[in-house]
């Protein structure tokens, strides 16, 4: 419990720090978002420029500290400002459109590839003398070295462009009514290639990581003890070997869940998939500072929350962590 509260406190603190950094970093950058926005509106009469400034909240003569205070208050209330490029939509609303796609596609794929990769890693370590196991190590090392975006382009070229089995980009067919069965089917069809890309390029890492952990754990004395006890091999494999070997993977998994948002950026760009990564790309192109800031905040929060979840998972799995011994 003490461990849990400590981690919760840590989460709150790091979130606060990342929110603050998210405020100060853009203000340390050369250039001025207000000027950039206004430059785009050249030729507008001055009173209209003034009203635009007011609408975006760029008219303040406040000091940095006062701005910071206002920013913190607004952030806590969930008000992240208004998007430049999709005016007058609030940034949070823009994000709300993108997040389900990212969570649905990326997070689901990560969970699948983690589960599959870990299971294959366990099997490959357990039967490591077999030819199939050594072959799988070679295969997954090879697959792992494919970059996400490259694999995505290859898939698009063969399956979408040449064979025309799947759509080239987007997340759903615009011609179907949202929510209808045909629309859901189109979501699946659009999601297949990006999902394959992410699964294939990330599964190798999980497999190799779990296999290596497992092989180290299998050399431990308690494995010999478990075998000497004549326990069913299934139990030795699951509760003596895998339960110990999975601890580092769980931590790694949560970290990558957070980074998925960033790592998925390339995949989303390649497939024009309307998730957070693609939106960030558009925001950068459009110099949409409030949106960028909100996305950065979202990524930072995702990493932190995922880490927190990993800490809790490890706490459940490892009694030493529960006691604060490790």
């Amino acid at each position: 419990m003490k461990y849990f509260l400590r981690k919760l406190g840590m989460l709150a603190f790091t979130l606060f720090v990342s929110i603050s950094i998210n405020f100060f970093i853009p203000r340390l950058m050369p250039g001025d978002p207000a000027r950039a926005l206004l430059d785009k509106m050249e030729g507008l009469p001055p009173e209209q420029i003034e009203s635009v400034r007011a609408a975006f909240g760029l008219d303040t003569g406040d000091s940095l500290l006062v701005q910071y205070g206002k920013y913190l208050g607004n952030t806590l209330r969930g008000d992240l400002g208004v998007s430049f490029s999709r005016f007058p939509m609030p940034v949070t609303q823009v994000l709300r459109i993108a997040i389900p796609w990212t969570i649905g596609l990326l997070a689901l794929c990560m969970v699948i590839s983690f589960a599959l990769g870990t299971a294959i890693g366990i099997a490959a370590a357990w039967k490591r003398e077999t030819r199939l196991a050594s072959f799988s190590v070679g295969l997954f090392s090879f697959i792992r070295s494919f970059p996400y975006f490259w694999l995505g382009l290859i898939f698009i070229y063969f399956f979408a462009f040449r064979l025309r089995l799947f759509p080239i980009g987007g997340a759903y067919a615009v011609t179907e009514t949202r929510g209808s069965a045909a629309w859901w089917l189109s979501v699946l069809r659009h999601g297949t290639l990006p999902a394959l890309t992410i699964c294939v390029s990330s599964i190798g890492g999980w497999m190799l990581m779990m296999r290596n952990n497992m092989i180290n754990v299998l050399a431990e004395d308690y494995i010999t003890v478990a075998l000497a006890k004549g326990l069913p091999l299934r139990r030795v494999k699951a509760l003596y070997a895998a339960k110990n070997a999975i601890l580092p993977s769980v931590t790694g998994f949560a970290m990558s869940l957070g980074f998925v948002v960033g790592g998925g950026l390339l995949t989303e760009m390649v497939f024009s998939y309307p998730g957070v990564g693609y939106m960030l790309y558009q925001a950068v192109n459009a110099k949409d500072y409030p949106l960028m800031q909100a996305i950065f905040l979202f990524i930072a929060a995702a990493v932190l929350v995922a880490n927190f979840i990993a800490d809790i998972a490890v706490m459940i799995l490892d009694p030493r962590v529960r006691d604060g011994a490790a």
């Binding site: 431990e220 010999t224 003890v225 000497a228 004549g230 509760l239 601890l247 490892d318 009694p319």
Partner: protein, 328 residues
């Protein structure tokens, strides 16, 4: 003595395949262990005593294997059994306590789970029955029953080893193999562990094979002793007789390498040189290169372990009939 012994090894050979060849760590070992007997096996590190223990339990994995010979447990050859048969015998017939108390327990399972899982695997018992057995065994090794819910990292080294002993005895095996069970513990704890084992043996009647590099541990509690050198037994006999009058020069050397607490102050002996490489053991007697009393014949012919009367066996040409050092 006519009954079937708990354990009998017949010309057991076992070792490890390496890139350079087969390392025969156990080379033709034979002995009998009667019911309730306490046999100590002593020798330097690398003499093959742990390999012997693992071979008896059929625990040699990866590049290690039993090459030839028989491991007769209650008259059945464990070395020739199918894996399923061995697995059924493990912990029910013979159990083992390992060297490293610190790492022999699974850190992510509770003490209770680790005590009861062997019961549940081998006996048709309910969880509650298994836990009752675990509580009883913990009581025997003086550990409080509330430790069942605890985890290994909450225990001290000595407690872990006592939990391990409770675990090994929970199914009342006929044979308990102890592979240097006290090496990782301090001297005071060593003492209490050994006394506990002796006490339990008297109460439960199992046989013990106790492997150690520290001969002094075995002085008081072992019935018989086997001294191992370079994969072979070089001397065997009742403990008392062996201590009073060691026959093999290596045994003498081993006994000269530990201090007594009560006896007169003597200069510590020790043995010059190091144990031979088992990949290519020296010709003739394996101890000859380090033996102060070797003579010209020792380097040629490997002396057999021969019976020299009084239940004593010795593999040394000094003890052959007609030699000046032979027993009268």
């Amino acid at each position: 003595m006519g009954s079937v012994p708990t354990l009998e090894l017949r010309d057991l050979r076992a070792g490890y395949s390496t890139k350079k060849g087969f390392v025969r760590a156990v080379d033709g070992v034979s002995f009998r262990l009667e019911r309730g007997e306490f046999l100590g096996i002593a020798g330097e590190s690398g003499c093959g005593k742990s390999t012997l223990a693992y071979a008896v339990m059929r625990l040699l994995r990866d590049n290690a294997r039993i090459e030839s010979g028989q491991v007769l447990f209650n008259g059945t050859d464990v070395a020739a059994m199918p894996e399923a048969g061995v697995n059924a015998l493990r912990w029910t017939g013979m159990a083992m306590v390992f060297q490293s108390a610190m790492s022999a327990l699974n850190p992510v399972l509770s003490v209770g789970e680790q005590l009861t899982d062997a019961v549940l695997a081998h006996r048709n018992a309910t969880k509650a029955e298994a836990e009752a057995m675990a509580v009883e065994m913990l009581g025997l090794v003086d550990i409080n029953a509330d430790r069942l819910r605890g985890y290994p990292h909450q225990l001290s080294g000595g407690m872990k080893q006592r939990v391990m002993i409770a675990m090994a005895l929970i199914l009342k095996p006929d044979l308990l193999i102890m592979d240097e069970p006290t090496t990782a513990l301090d001297v005071v704890v060593q003492r209490s562990i050994i006394e506990k084992i002796d006490e339990l043996r008297r109460a439960l009647g199992f046989s013990v094979v106790f492997i150690t590099h520290d001969l002094s541990l075995l002085v008081e509690i072992s019935d018989s002793l086997a001294i191992m050198y370079a994969g072979k037994i070089c001397e065997y006999g009742r403990s008392r007789a062996l201590f009073d009058e060691p026959l093999h020069p290596y045994t003498e050397g081993l006994m000269g390498s530990f201090p007594t607490l009560t006896g007169p102050v003597v200069r510590m002996g020790g043995i010059e040189g190091r144990a031979p490489d088992l990949l290519s053991p020296p010709p003739g007697c394996r101890f000859a290169p380090r033996c102060a009393r070797a003579f010209e014949g020792c380097g040629r012919e490997d002396p057999a372990l021969r019976d020299i009367g009084g239940g004593r066996l010795c593999a040394c040409r000094l003890r052959e009939p007609g030699r000046e050092g032979g027993r009268r």
